[in-house]
Symmetry: C4
Subunit: 237 residues, 4 copies
């Protein structure tokens, strides 16, 4: 048995969530899970249908995207995952989909404005959309530069990857991350729902206002940080 | 066995309806059920996924939101439920969701206009949307004041909670209620469908008229009150 | 066993199709089936959920909407069905739903324009939407007058009920009919799909043209009438 | 057993995918599969519901649409399929649906603009929409001329059928094709998803830009042609 068996299982389970949550059709997505103690991550093989995917198909690569274990070619987006794992020490999983509403906002090249408490429950800012890459970079090491594009976009907008666990790549689609692969997939689903709510809101009222700062703070911090009182952590009767 | 066992079961069953009716993803909602003879209500624990929720996880609290029985922290919205149970003696259940179309109207900060008989079959007015709370109140006892916000909004619009069993909290989402928890959930589903119909209607015809008063009266009163002739109550062959 | 047993079964099966085809939630619809040799029709009881409906719950009434057999109150729309059966000798079933897109067009008070061959495969004209009833008639024998409203609307627009098997009641929703109850339900589903296609078409291109007459004729008549060559009728190798 | 048994099975399986992938209701579509060595293709019989369709119902015809084997009338669109098989030697399957978003763009009489990488992963141009046929041709050999209409539209727009495996027939709906029937159905599903994404994108931002050429080239050619590095073909560790 592989020494990466449990990592492969985690990655496999998280990948299967994508079609179950209606986030992908066919092979339109990939999830990875990291094991920092071993310096590797597990990722979906390229172009394999979720219906036939098995745990042993999962590929193990290092943080330079070099193959460590596996008989299949890893996802074509592997270098993007590697770039982020190398630079963001606090994340444990990454998810990439072509979910419909998320892609629509990415194609519109617009940030998703924060307009409600559902959004503020998850992140305290708009959901950033990166501008398209320059032609020169596209023709170069494209998937590697996609990682840099993500980090640059967050940096320019003054966002922390520990708080804003999602981004839209302009004209492409969403990348999300989190403490593990399951949380990254959770964020993909939440992003898709926020994208749908924001779309509908602006259809109903094109002048719908941004959420006021007091509500952003209230909802974000009641679920995050030391003074959170949502969920079952730190609960004392 | 707990003396609140049947109340917990009622609350549990009603909570499970939320994902079954496509009204929530993950933990985006909560339902409560009251037992007025015992002066308590049962409510979903905070942040627990519907897939793993068990009847024994349901928390019992009193009308001041104080814990009576249970090993888990109750929903972060518990004080809102408590506020309403204390002031509205005729309700038996409350449901709160982040259903997509309902949230979109709440984010648009607009009442849902009454435009058809499906709407009038359930309530004789627009579905009210409360304005956002003041910053001062948000930073204070937020969930408690949310209950007051609901009651104030109905009062200002001249609506009775016995007739209008639903409201949108501006920028947040829907709260619904009814004679028991099942009816509160029913109202959540009906509200979501009315929100979707109204959205589509105004997309098709932005000048679509309000339903004429004669049809509001006809449809509302053929299903409600002493002269109703819908359903099987008071049926004599 | 009732002498209307097979009629009740036909009506029961057709009613169950409504939730299965996503045309209704809860009790938002009713289907009837006629037996002209016995001068009666079978219809859903009022306010009964589809999940608990049994064949024996189906109510038998005559063409004046008088109860013939059954222990439950028939649908509140029974007089509308009776009115149509009495005046349209060639129909065998009627279906009424509150399907979302159909209702949205009804609330918009607009005919659904014929814009594609999917539409022309089923009827050779726009789908008519009746104007709202006068206040006087609403306050009178409302459900009876709803039947007259349907017939008047078709008459005024010069449409034949044998060709146009569907209508939208302004501010209310769709009624459809056909040679039997199953065909009436089929028409409810087709109408909902045509309503959705027309909505999307006009969102994409508000100036989308009406289907040219040559295509209306080609598609309608290749499926209907003596020279039809669609389906398996009159097929000779 | 028929000498066309395996061809019928392939055609049957591909047809069943249409309702499973939510691309058709009732009988709104048909798929065919070719056997070029035998000079025939298999196609769905006309007007038969997918729920009752059996492999033996599949009809075998030649490239002039003449019946070779089968007891049922072939699809009313058979001549269109025959026309394409005769002229396009590299295709193995054809799929025709009335999928909702694809039809909406066809009814809008607009090409679907290429606005994202999901689109460029599959084809390097807009998805063409043919103009309506002349009245004269409609009244003539309509289904035969529909084949010519498809080939003319691709020719006029300078597109290759080996690269652009999908088209919208103005006011009608989509035809897609591919190396076999399964790939043709895959293309029907992808087209429907691209149609939905493009619709949403333009609703969010009516001025959303076309995808830049460098990204079209990058995404199309990383999945197609000799230098592709997507999927498992030509993978060497």
């Amino acid at each position: 048995m592989s020494r990466y068996q449990s990592l492969k299982e985690e990655c496999f389970e998280a990948n299967l969530k994508l079609p179950a949550l209606d986030l992908v059709i066919y092979t339109f997505g990939n999830v990875s899970a990291v094991d920092r103690s071993k310096g590797v991550f597990a990722i979906k093989p390229s172009g394999v249908d979720y219906a036939t995917l098995r745990p042993d198909d999962i590929v193990i690569v290092d943080f330079d995207a070099e193959l460590v274990e596996g008989s299949m070619r890893p996802s074509s987006d592997t270098k993007t995952h590697a770039y982020l794992y190398k630079r963001w020490p606090e994340i444990g999983g990454i998810s990439h989909t072509h979910a419909t509403y998320s892609v629509a906002w990415a194609q519109a090249q617009m940030d998703i404005p924060i307009m409600g408490t559902t959004h503020a429950d998850h992140l305290p800012s708009d959901i950033p959309c990166s501008p398209p890459m320059s032609d020169e970079l596209i023709k170069g090491d494209y998937e590697h530069m996609t990682g840099q594009q993500i980090i640059d976009c967050l940096h320019e907008k003054g966002l922390k990857y520990q708080e804003v666990e999602m981004i839209l790549l302009g004209n492409h689609g969403p990348f999300t991350w989190g403490k593990d692969a399951a949380k990254a997939v959770y964020n993909s689903k939440v992003l898709e729902e926020l994208a749908r709510m924001a779309f509908l809101t602006l259809q109903i009222n094109p002048k719908a206002p941004r959420l006021k700062q007091a509500l952003i703070d209230k909802h974000y911090w009641r679920k995050h940080g030391a003074n959170a009182y949502y969920g079952q952590e730190n609960f004392e009767k």
